[in-house]
């Protein structure tokens, strides 16, 4: 396959970036999108040019490192896939593909297609955990959890924190990410003791980081590689309103 790539090149967070066009002549349709970038970088290194910086780690769709806004969509055109799982067979010979980094104020570009997603880590650090001492796992029967609750918490816990929801949202809202984390913990008995303080702290941090406000367009759910449901966003709203209005603690 012959592929033309228009890739966003930016030296660092300070300098302005621009698109560069590259041609690849022998792309295999069995390659993943990232493997195509490996080929491109080999080519650039041979030409003595600076290779394109992009994030990747596990390359099996579970780590959440790969990003890339491909032809106007987070992680490219396929539903429920990360960029590393996107294969070139979904493109046509002779295609021109535009690749940009995630664009959001809280995700500053570090270099080329790599953005700094530490804002997510700071949101997690603000309350996305359970403060109990670890030790031996207790008997499973001492913590009965209904099957549908366990399933829903598990579905929310599938979030890999890749940031596609923020990237795809017209408002750069982080609500899908935060709602997945809040849901996962608040539905299970271990997360219940900190249910109110957690949601209040995480929403506060999310706002401080400069993410936008959710307008329920549903773009996040459509672009999420783990297909996290927007039901979680409604649950986050509910949890927050409940914590603010009903809890004895201040917001």
């Amino acid at each position: 396959m012959k592929i033309t790539l228009k890739v966003w090149r930016q030296k660092n967070s300070k300098e302005k970036g621009q698109f560069e066009t590259y041609s690849l002549n022998s792309v295999s349709e069995d390659m993943s999108f990232l493997e195509m970038f490996d080929v491109l970088n080999e080519q650039l290194i041979r030409e003595g040019k600076d290779p394109v910086a992009f994030d990747h780690d596990c390359r099996e769709g579970i780590c959440g490192m790969c990003s890339m806004y491909i032809n106007g969509r987070a992680h490219g055109p396929m539903q429920g896939t990360t960029t590393c799982q996107l294969h070139m067979r979904h493109f046509n010979d002779g295609d021109t593909i535009v690749v940009e980094p995630w664009r959001a104020e809280p995700f500053p570009v570090i270099k080329d297609l790599v953005v700094n997603r530490s804002a997510f880590d700071r949101i997690i650090a603000s309350g996305g955990y359970v403060s109990v001492n670890t030790g031996n796992a207790q008997d499973a029967n001492s913590l009965p959890i209904a099957k549908h609750i366990a399933d829903e918490a598990f579905a929310a816990a599938a979030c890999i924190g890749c940031g596609a929801c923020v990237a795809a949202c017209k408002n750069s809202s982080a609500m899908l990410f935060v709602s997945a984390k809040v849901s996962q913990l608040s539905m299970l008995p271990q997360g219940k003791p900190e249910r109110e303080s957690r949601v209040v702290a995480m929403v506060k941090k999310m706002d401080e980081e400069g993410f936008g406000n959710c307008t329920n367009t549903g773009a996040c759910e459509a672009e999420c590689p783990k297909e996290i449901s927007v039901m979680n966003i409604a649950r986050l709203n509910r949890e927050y309103i409940r914590a603010a209005l009903a809890s004895e603690e201040d917001v």
Binding site: R103, A219, A244
Partner: protein
């Protein structure tokens, strides 16, 4: 700041304000349209005039009118601040963005649709509310009630106003198509049993409001021309 201010100024609190005011304005639309549809009756507008007079003179309704204006102002002002902060959250725009692949165009255009509705609303208030309340004393109809009906006939004889009116109504329709169900979600109400019902009501409500309001200027323009 008190806990209440904290809550209401958070991103979720701001959306709660949008949804509560939005749903309140929906209830206003329903009352407004119900009364307007009376103008289609073949009674020279007598019943419509009576209803319009009741709405502009009853002390309870006049009090709610103040709440209604507050609702409009809060909804509009809040949307302005939310839009501003949303734009700030993405200073560098995408060169290519395939929005239609993941969301409806009207869900992404609530600000533009709302602005069109606001533009129409100002003209609309000038033609009816300001005209009848402050500028002119409406003449009495055959029952002795202030004749709003004749004012409607005069205004809707203007094709340019009718086009603006229809544009405003259709912008409102799409605004409601996303806004109605979105409001419930912002309030945290999303449920496997009830959300399909809310979505169904939202679609029916949007169609009813849009077509109901749209039929009036068309009907008046073609069948209720003013007497020369």
């Amino acid at each position: 700041m008190s806990w209440f201010t904290h809550m209401m100024t958070s991103s979720i609190g701001k959306k709660v304000v949008m949804s509560v005011t939005g749903l309140f304005l929906c209830s206003f639309l329903l009352v407004h349209l119900s009364i307007n549809l009376l103008s289609l009756l073949p009674d020279n507008g007598l019943l419509f005039n009576e209803a319009a007079h009741f709405m502009s003179s009853n002390p309870l309704i006049r009090t709610i009118e103040i709440v209604l204006f507050a609702g409009f102002i809060i909804h509009i002002a809040q949307s302005y601040f939310i839009t501003r902060s949303n734009q700030k959250a993405r200073p560098v725009k995408y060169a290519v963005n395939a929005g239609n692949a993941n969301s409806t165009w009207y869900s992404r255009s609530m600000g533009i649709l709302g602005s069109l509705v606001l533009f129409f609303l100002i003209i609309h208030l000038r033609h009816f509310w300001i005209e009848s309340r402050f500028l002119t004393e409406l003449p009495a109809d055959s029952n002795g009630t202030p004749d709003m009906y004749t004012l409607m006939i005069e205004v809707f004889a203007n094709p340019i106003y009718n086009i603006i009116y229809l544009l405003g109504v259709f912008a409102l329709g799409y605004h409601l198509m996303h806004g109605f169900q979105s409001a419930w979600r912002s309030l945290g109400i999303m449920h496997r049993k009830y959300t399909p019902v809310i979505q169904g009501i939202g679609i029916a409500f949007s169609f009813f409001i849009t077509l109901g309001f749209a039929i009036i200027p068309v009907f008046f323009y073609f069948f209720r021309q003013p007497n020369q």
